[in-house]
């Protein structure tokens, strides 16, 4: 049995729970963090295939996380911004994210997005 690919979900508890269930159902392993700072801690020991990133978080928001992530050694996982704010596209462009998912999202879009970025290269 192949080792499942890891997806790092950076968001609040409800969404993390949802992602664990939704993505493990299609064969991914979900690791999660409640904010940017916690995510950076996880990245010290993990090499996720994709990062799903909320923007508005306490302690360290998406912008600060993206800035810090840039300074970490490569290779970098693709970053997908997930936000309920109406300027999701702008924010994604601001932090040079690879894609964005506007909340609330349809599972088909979530799966398509994950499959695309996880199996790239």
């Amino acid at each position: 049995m192949p080792v499942p690919k890891q997806i790092l979900v950076v968001d609040d508890e409800g969404i993390r729970d949802l992602m664990v269930m939704a993505l493990s159902a299609i064969g991914y392993e979900v690791v999660s963090a409640g904010n940017g700072a916690a995510a950076l801690e996880r990245l010290a020991t993990l090499q996720p295939t994709v990062i799903l990133l909320d923007m508005l978080m306490p302690t360290m928001d998406g912008w600060a996380f993206a800035q810090a992530y840039e300074h970490l050694p490569k290779p970098h996982a693709p970053v997908i911004v997930m936000t309920a704010a109406h300027d999701a596209a702008t924010w994604a462009a601001e932090i040079k994210a690879d894609a964005y998912l506007a909340k609330p999202f349809h599972f088909a879009d979530l799966y398509a997005c994950i499959e695309h970025w996880a199996n790239q290269g």
Partner: protein, 704 residues
């Protein structure tokens, strides 16, 4: 004897001596007997001395005149009579001129006309009449010479008033030294040229004696030069100098006025010429000075108007205008007092001078002050000495301390007084009608500008407020949308997850189904809470948030809220301090909403956990509930706004919420007639205090 008495006696003595010397010189040229002369400089000397030093110096004139007259060999009684005439002449001239408001600088036409008509024209009548009568009575003057003697006397004295008096008056009053210093070279050239021309004309250098009367015209260019370039000082210097040389020429029997050898006729020629020349240059100089003042006033007015037009904002406009007014009127203090919106007080909008720092922070009652009088009368007001004004009457206490002379004019727009413009000096000064007129002209021009600036500012403020309101609403909508979508994301996500499993597209175990359903339930509750808040907000906005009051034990309510919150958190310890049941007539659901909001905030904003203390205690006629946490607190710049609609002190740290909780809480507490306040202790955290009146709590059901 006091020092002032000594000084007075010295002044009188000096005046008598100078008067006698000048008179002696004049008498050398006596043409009617030894006592009556066409050249009588002491008349001008006496006039100038009594005008400048005050009529109380008259004994100097009386002594000098009587002494000189007695020295001509007339009986003492006659000399006394003549001396009386000379003294009365000077006193009547001074009295008439003072009554007329005469100013010795001779830079106004009215002053020149007064000098010519009252001093030179009328006052010598007294001297000539009394003097000639005295000579006649003393038997010194034959009856047939009376008319000639009277005419000679009158003309001699008049010339003294026209030539000598202006010279002394102007040179004592005008800032002529500055004028001369500024154009020293030109003044020197002019002086030398005048002397050379006078000597040439009156000394008989040009042409044979008396042959060319037209030579006199040679000195006219110098009259114009002196007058146009140097004003009244130039004019009086010219007449003094030329007059001296002309008489000197006649005495030496040379120059254009000498026709034959009869001194009387030659002097008469000279004096008529000098009289006309003196009047002409004095009038010319005064007219030029008036024009220059008017032009300077217009320039000042123009510059003030330009300033008024160039600025739209009051804060730019007023300091500029006051600077210009201060310069244009050469005053120390200026202020604009605008009537406040409630029309009850003045706001010293802007002041230049020592009181600058006071401006803008003070309200001055409209009623008792000088400025108030200006507003009521709509007339300018001039105060020569502010210290003579009743304390309650003073314009403002701070002006009183620093200002001696003051003038103020109303600022009128469309028949509506909007304030007062004032100018004052530290040194004594009498503000003339011209200066008051100029200030009023300035006021008329800036009043409109001020009014426009105020309208503009009000409009801009309204606009800014509208823009800010729209912006706040937009931000709120975007925050609200985000906050509503967050639970929706969970709802939709878990719903899809379960659907997928039901359709057999993925496998899901029983505990996961349970968790998913729990999330659905929780997020629904969260969504409901948000929607309720929005509904409450809209009820508040239209004033339809109603209370359902009933007798409620506040302690019980607080205990329930704390217990419910404690279930949700393990990090925090909620402790309730209460003396026992305290019943108040409140809407239990709404007050619970307030308490839940405060406790949730306390939990949310102390992310590291810790104690949260709630107290309940009787307070005056009511009950007080406090909530104290030891968390993040609120940054000082946000503290004033936390009860505002849509306000989120922690917006930038992305802690969830739509910024309505405290706003709605405050509205609920206000509806109860209570109060809610926040304090931020120095050791961190927040301290909220809710005070509610107990109301009527007679029955357990209470009223609604």
């Amino acid at each position: 004897m006091t020092a002032s008495a000594v000084r007075y006696l010295l002044q009188v003595g000096a005046l008598a001596a100078v008067y006698a010397a000048a008179a002696k010189g004049g008498l050398l040229l006596a043409t009617v007997g030894a006592q009556v002369t066409l050249v009588w400089p002491p008349a001008g000397l006496a006039l100038a001395a009594l005008l400048l030093g005050g009529p109380r110096l008259w004994p100097g004139v009386a002594f000098g005149a009587t002494l000189v007259n007695a020295s001509t060999g007339v009986p003492l009684a006659t000399a006394c009579g003549m001396g009386t005439g000379n003294t009365l002449e000077a006193l009547t001239a001074v009295a008439m001129l003072r009554r007329f408001g005469f100013q010795p600088s001779l830079d106004r036409l009215r002053d020149v006309f007064a000098l010519v008509a009252l001093a030179a024209g009328l006052s010598p009548i007294a001297s000539a009449t009394i003097g000639v009568a005295s000579l006649l009575l003393g038997g010194v003057l034959p009856l047939r010479n009376v008319a000639t003697a009277w005419g000679t006397w009158w003309l001699g004295d008049a010339l003294g008033d026209l030539v000598v008096a202006p010279l002394l008056l102007v040179l004592s009053k005008q800032p002529w030294r500055h004028l001369m210093a500024r154009r020293a070279a030109e003044a020197a050239v002019l002086l030398v040229a005048m002397v050379v021309a006078s000597v040439a004309v009156f000394g008989g250098w040009v042409g044979p004696r008396g042959s060319y009367l037209s030579l006199v015209y040679l000195i006219f260019p110098f009259a114009l030069w002196a007058t146009l370039q140097f004003g009244p000082p130039g004019a009086v210097l010219f007449t003094g100098l030329v007059s001296g040389f002309a008489i000197w020429g006649v005495v030496h029997v040379t120059g254009p006025f000498v026709h034959g050898t009869i001194l009387r006729y030659n002097l008469l020629n000279t004096q008529v010429f000098m009289g006309v020349a003196a009047v002409t240059v004095l009038i010319l100089a005064a007219a030029v000075a008036e024009r220059e003042r008017a032009a300077a006033g217009l320039r000042a007015l123009q510059s003030i108007t330009d300033t008024a037009l160039a600025h739209l904002a009051l804060t730019d406009l007023l300091p500029q205008v006051l600077n210009r007014v201060t310069t244009a009127l050469a005053v120390d203090n200026t202020a604009i007092l605008l009537i406040s919106a409630d029309e009850e007080a003045f706001v010293p909008y802007m002041a230049r001078g020592p009181d600058e720092q006071v401006a803008g922070q003070v309200r001055i009652p409209l009623a008792p002050g000088l400025a108030g009088r200006i507003v009521v009368s709509r007339q300018p007001l001039v105060v020569d000495d502010l210290s003579t004004v009743e304390p309650g009457e003073a314009v403002t206490p701070f002006w009183r301390a620093t200002t001696h002379a003051l003038m103020g004019v109303p600022l009128v727009v469309d028949d509506r007084v909007i304030g007062v413009l004032q100018a004052g000096t530290r040194a004594p000064r009498h503000f003339t009608a011209d200066e008051v007129r100029l200030l009023q002209l300035v006021a008329d021009r800036i009043a409109l500008a001020i009014d426009h600036a105020r309208l503009y500012e009000a409009e801009r403020q309204a606009h800014d407020e509208a823009v800010a309101a729209v912006q706040a609403r937009d931000e709120f909508l975007s925050v609200a949308a985000h906050e509503l979508k967050t639970p929706l994301t969970s709802l939709r996500g878990f719903a899809q997850l379960l659907l997928h499993a039901m359709k057999g597209e993925s496998r899901i175990d029983a505990p996961s189904v349970r968790r998913a359903l729990q999330h659905l339930d929780q997020q629904s509750i969260k969504l409901e809470g948000l929607v309720t808040q929005l509904l409450d907000l809209s009820r508040i906005e239209v004033g339809k948030l109603a209370l359902d009051k009933q007798a409620t034990d506040v302690t019980e309510l607080v205990n329930a809220v704390a217990a419910a919150a404690q279930v949700e958190t393990r990090l925090h310890t909620l402790v309730v301090h209460a003396p026992g049941p305290i019943v108040a007539d409140i809407d239990p659901l709404r007050v619970e909403q307030v308490l839940v909001n405060l406790v949730n905030n306390a939990i949310k904003y102390s992310p590291d956990g810790g104690p949260i203390d709630l107290t309940v205690r009787p307070w005056a006629d009511g009950v007080q509930v406090t909530v104290r946490d030891h968390g993040l607190g609120i940054a000082p710049e946000h503290q004033a706004h936390i009860f505002d609609r849509f306000y989120q002190a922690h917006a930038h740290s992305h802690r969830s919420g739509i910024g309505l909780g405290l706003h709605i809480s405050r509205q609920i507490v206000d509806l109860h007639g209570g109060s809610i306040t926040a304090a931020f202790p120095t050791d961190g955290g927040s301290y909220f205090v809710v005070t509610l009146p107990r109301g009527h709590t007679n029955g357990p059901t209470g009223d609604t």
